[in-house]
Symmetry: C2
Subunit: 191 residues, 2 copies
């Protein structure tokens, strides 16, 4: 029953299924078979539309990053004052969606694969660049050295996320509070 124009639908279903499988497995140790099954198709079709496992993963990671970006844009859209913009960036980074098992798993694998796969590395650099740019822009009017502040705050966000996502002791809320406290210090300090 080949209905035409299946490609985008299938691709989207596969990406979604991949994210779901990553969430279920907690890592990228999922087979194409599992993904295809969840997406309701055969492994052959998955290969047909994506070419290979690696490209399916890349698409899934791109989707997660894209979702995150949407959340950032959305949160930034409704605020005007700089301080609130920085707070919005922090809020987006520690939003509940960022701590969904699938997101955490994908994120950790992104780090692990970035050392070897150039395309994965490019995705990571893209994320870091965007965050730094957004932070610099938010800090420009309220911080003596926006560049340095953004670099610091960006790294802090990543580090806090790491701990909140992996250690059950640290909660997302506590991480967020720590980031906000750092923002306070950053604004009120002379460096």
């Amino acid at each position: 029953m080949p209905k035409l124009g299946m490609e985008p639908i299938r691709r989207a279903a596969l990406v979604q299924a991949t994210i779901a499988e990553i969430g279920a497995a907690g890592s990228l140790d999922v087979t194409v078979g599992q993904i295809a099954k969840r997406a309701g198709m055969s492994t052959a079709l998955a290969h047909h539309y994506f070419g290979g496992k690696h490209q399916i993963f890349l698409a899934a990671m791109g989707q997660i990053l894209s979702d995150f970006r949407s959340e950032v844009v959305e949160k930034l859209r409704i605020v005007r004052i700089p301080r609130a913009r920085a707070e919005a960036l922090i809020a987006a980074s520690f939003a509940p969606s960022c701590f969904a098992p699938a997101t955490v798993g994908a994120w950790m694998t992104l780090y692990a694969h970035a050392t070897t796969h150039p395309e994965t590395h490019r995705l990571l650099v893209l994320y870091q660049r965007r965050l730094r740019s957004n932070l610099t822009h938010a800090l420009r009017p309220i911080c003596a050295d926006p560049r340095a502040g953004a670099e610091m705050l960006g790294a802090l966000i990543d580090g806090l996320y790491l701990r909140a996502a992996l250690a059950e002791e640290a909660s997302p809320d506590a991480a967020k509070a720590t980031a906000l406290r750092a923002l306070d210090t950053l604004i009120g300090a002379r460096t």
Copy 2:
């Protein structure tokens, strides 16, 4: 030619070979065969002494963490004033040895596996706890809220390491400088 007491020698050789292979591959995608070959023995012997691949990896990661700990202890041993202790912790975290390909690869895989393998997770928690404890101790005499400061600085170190290790733009030295700047701010601030 069975010389007696081979076990510790073989185990050490395997651990060292594992670290070297991780460095060469940039990730944990190395086979027991590769490791055993580099260590100068058969795969069967590797299994004989370790039981399984996972345990070889755990031992290798434990070794890396142990090496790091030694470096920390060594650096802490020769300083007395609190400020210098905090600086020593930062210096250890951004020492060249931490940026060896094998170390970076092992570290990233540690994060990735921590979500699924409890033993790996335990290793990570151990590292985080030690760093926090060391930082808290160093900050106690010179910071209004040593706990909060340590949590912040610890996360910042991890985040900066992530960027310095993965993005070729950010250098270890720049990361270290940023951490030291944060330390300055932390000491001089009221939170």
